[in-house]
Amino acid sequence: MGAQLRELRRRIRSTESMKKITKAQELIAASRIIKAQQSADAAKPYSQALVRALEAAASRSNLEHHLLEATGTPTRSAVLVVTSDRGFAGAYSANVIRQAEALTGLLREQGQEVRPYVVGKKGANWFRFRGREMFGEYVDITGKPSYADARRIADDLLEAINTPTEDGGVDEIHVVSTHFKNMVSQEVRARRLFPIVVEDVPDPLHRIEAGAPGGMSEAAEAETPAATTPQAEDETFPLYDFEPSAEEVLDALLPQYAGNLVYTTLLDASASEWAARRRAMKAATDNAGELQQNLTRQANAARQAEVTQEISEIVGGADALAAAGSE
């Protein structure tokens, strides 16, 4: 009996220390969400000005750029999968990977070859464990992504898309990442980065992607890069003078735009990752509290049982002595 009580007390203590750890993790995650959101806000002026300039340049040049419009049937796609470097974030990475698999299946059905580019250790390990080839692997950046990281990823992707298909290049670039809607809701999104979806109406592939199963929360709205790219014909641009020329400006802007897209995606994913981690750690803390409460009840019952037993032993012993004495 005494052994059971000791065991229970030991478990209460270890649960207590686990709870402290998860609580600390939760608080850290909460503060990192804010930081990630601040970085995202700081990057906004650049994105906005860049998109405006890009729209102006695109509206003037003849739009024949392989990053702007698809040429022929795509045969190969790069898929950038944004997972996390660390665990303790619930199903964050698993959800992204599941969505990436759905997209991969979809693209394969269309006869495309899929090349994964993976961000985050969790995703990289998942691919490595299954012996799948990764064409790009970027780790130790998801906690606090910097623009230099985004630039590196974007450069690799651009190199792939700028290489002719016959020489092993890709035709399309897709990205699967988590979008931070608010503190409690994040959703996994699959989007096509390049060629940019120019039309107002999302193309069929796009709609399928957005509706593909596996989202973290309710069905994704078909919010696409189209929302930020040339689409509004009713909006008129000032007649810009281009130096040196509209085409050259566009050529220079598109890589910057790619870098910016990857950067904002990483920041969005980072905020989501911390939010997922905060939620997971909050659940763990709550569970530890509950467990602790149950264990305490059990320990109290065990202690009570021990006391009762001792009393009945003493009483029994006294009775036996009294009986022996009266004989």
Binding site: P45, A53, S146, F242, E243, L253
Partner: protein, 122 residues
């Protein structure tokens, strides 16, 4: 005078400077360009180097930009660059080290030199 310019200097991850100014001097791939209020709309690619913003009170803000461009419309000037640093934020000692480390990387070396130049001219 036609009025004043609203200027913002923005790097990829943060806004470097914003305010009103009389004139903005930058260097595009075609040559030096000076923008004053009432300038026609321009979109120009900037070479790695300094951008000078002269403010109303006669002061000057100098920033080094890398892989940037300039967009002017309706007295609003946006200088956008993947990297941009104000002259006073540049630490010449650390940039010197970067320059040494750059080695054969021409882009990195150019960016380091541009920053040194901006820091030196201050």
């Amino acid at each position: 005078m036609a009025g004043e310019l609203n200027v913002e200097v923005v790097a990829a991850d943060h806004q470097v400077w914003s305010g009103t100014a009389n004139i903005v001097v930058a260097k595009t791939t075609e040559g030096e360009i000076g923008i004053m209020a009432g300038h026609e709309p321009v979109l120009g690619l900037l070479v790695t180097g300094p951008v000078t913003v002269r403010t109303d009170d006669g002061g000057a803000v100098v920033a080094a930009v890398d892989r940037g461009f300039l967009s002017v419309s309706e007295n609003h000037v946006a200088v956008l660059a993947e990297s941009a640093q104000l002259a006073e934020d540049i630490d010449p000692a650390s940039v010197e080290k970067e320059l040494e480390a750059a080695g054969d990387d021409q882009a990195a070396a150019r960016w380091a030199q541009a920053r040194l130049q901006v820091a030196g001219a201050r």
